[in-house]
Subunit: 416 residues, 2 copies
Amino acid sequence: MQLLTTDQRVRQLQDRMAVHDVDACVFLLPENIVLLTGFYVRIPGLGIAFVPREGEASLMVPSYDMDRARVTWSGDLRNFSAVVDAKPATGPLTKSLQGLLGVADGVQAHLSDLCERHGARGGRIGFEGSFEQVSPAILIEPNCVGLPTQAMLKQVFATEELFDVFELIEQIRAVKTDYDLERLSVVNEIAQFGLEAFHEAAVPGSTDAQVRSAVESAIANRGHGYRGARSVRGLATVGSGRDLVTHGWNYQITTGRTIEEGDLVMVEMGTVADGYWADNTRTVVAGAAGTELQQQADKVVWQAIRAALEAAVPGARAGDVDAAARRVCEESGLPGVFPHQTGHGVGYRYHESTPNLVPNGDAILREGMCIAVEPAFYGLEYGGGVRQEHNAIVRPGGAVALTTLDLQFGTAPVSA
Amino acid sequence: MQLLTTDQRVRQLQDRMAVHDVDACVFLLPENIVLLTGFYVRIPGLGIAFVPREGEASLMVPSYDMDRARVTWSGDLRNFSAVVDAKPATGPLTKSLQGLLGVADGVQAHLSDLCERHGARGGRIGFEGSFEQVSPAILIEPNCVGLPTQAMLKQVFATEELFDVFELIEQIRAVKTDYDLERLSVVNEIAQFGLEAFHEAAVPGSTDAQVRSAVESAIANRGHGYRGARSVRGLATVGSGRDLVTHGWNYQITTGRTIEEGDLVMVEMGTVADGYWADNTRTVVAGAAGTELQQQADKVVWQAIRAALEAAVPGARAGDVDAAARRVCEESGLPGVFPHQTGHGVGYRYHESTPNLVPNGDAILREGMCIAVEPAFYGLEYGGGVRQEHNAIVRPGGAVALTTLDLQFGTAPVSA
């Protein structure tokens, strides 16, 4: 299996940097390090990418992560002392995790060197200014880019001119490369282990917490090593029965509630493998076939997903995809058509904001985009709600699902 | 059990706002919402706190979270439409999760109203500018405060003057209230469920991933409902054998490696219950008593923890606590004394930066601070490393541990 990334993402970014007259960019968010280098940061902040307007990009990692970085990144690779070979440092990053771990000085020395080598001193420096929703690193505790990083960049690059790279990243990240698609295929197959565990565990007598544990355990235990996956985690939420109504029937929270026969049980599930994410939802009826209304809702949700995938062709508007799914639900005459978005982008993050599949959404779909589609019905009539969610890749013949398009109430799986 | 917070934190903040001439503060980070109101945000961004310089603070939550917010917050409570009753919105927050979920307009309307009521228009507005390490919300996917939030605040409050509240929050959060201490006691007892599961699961034949799953499952399955805990999660990392060396023996990453007899196995474990965090590490030898050197290291680490806790009295300097633990390790004559910090603050986050227990650290310890203490030895001689980590509350007679001060290699627990 080919794990090495190419410099395709770096070149895409450099093309846009030229247009906006940006001299260099510095990245600290794990999701953008994955995008540019394939490296999945272990401890938040301990993995930094530098991209000059022209020439080779650089990846900086702790010394103990050099071998791991080489699995995906063949470009310039530098190391710094952290955790096991560092003393806590002082400087602009002391407010942040980087300071706590004593890494600030080493990273700043590399950045100063890169600044001089690439003639970026006093230039326009790109930074992650508008990322207010981010992906965590392997060890989960999240890092952000705020004032300390901005102060450090101004000092190191001797500039007052920082440029927010959010839009540039949005433009390139939504369309996945062949490398990305391989990784997304892997993480969706691993997600399926979690869905299988959910179907087995969501039975009367289990607690919601136990079902969540079974789902996440299956993802971790079967996912590590699967098709070369190295760092895997499931982050699921399970709700059931009346909790789906009283606690908000969408994006429920997990409790210790015991599932009873005939309860609706819903799992909302993020799965991450080596920095690539899948987003899946399934709803089942515990120990029963479900009421006629639940079964109807289940069937219509499935039809709505199919309609959304068929509409998700290159050139389509996000609003058209939303309308396709919403129309199927509305025309069914069933109550409680979902009020939220039909879906969203997914891949480098559990939820990506491009394309946003909402009513009148004006994003244009392009081949290779990865979308999550999640139509639903909610209401007391259903005992909560019925939602399914699949991830799919936009293709000329319609989006191709990355997991089996099964119905949730025990019907045999139907292939896409 | 008393779950309701008091307005003690709000008053502490208001005292400091007066000193810095800050007219109002707006908080979007889950950890600061917990600090001020006790409310543990479900979906990142969907929970906002407003604190005026004088008078009552306000908490804004999605309509479906009103009952949940009332469990801890008795002050002004407002709701907005999100997810189940909202259409995606436009505006300055559309780049962020808040925009994706259609909440921007509702929140801005509340903030505009609060701005007028409290005379904050054109004033100095506090925001979370320097939080580069943050705690996630219940559903984990993290949110940050960046340029979109700053633009929104400037627009709503008709001001150009934003004030970074990082230092004000740091000053008050490090010392825990009685309410906090109750919550920290609960989460540490829940963490102990994970530690028990670790001792049972870390045996030859298990994979590191399976051990992690066992630890996290025990925390979730036994933790929900324990002493009133509502939202519980373990976020563990397990490494073993030669991986503890080749993958960096500190802050290892979990893989599918199968544990062999005599392997060192280490768990680094964050536990969160209702927004309060514990940070624990344990090392064991799988299926064996350990070599003489491993046993010596184990014993010295335990002595170092005791020394750190004895030194952690009100008025002590962080550097003194670090020195107390480090001296015990150095005077033992064993190789590979830990190069990292002796410890750090913990509570609202897995890792808090005050007090930072590092060599020459100048933070002054105060009664009620919650610290994590994690001395260790690392090296090939040990087959990786031996680390234990305990959380404790600073008291006049020395810090009091929140979990049992057990030795890791099977010795009977020793009470603190």
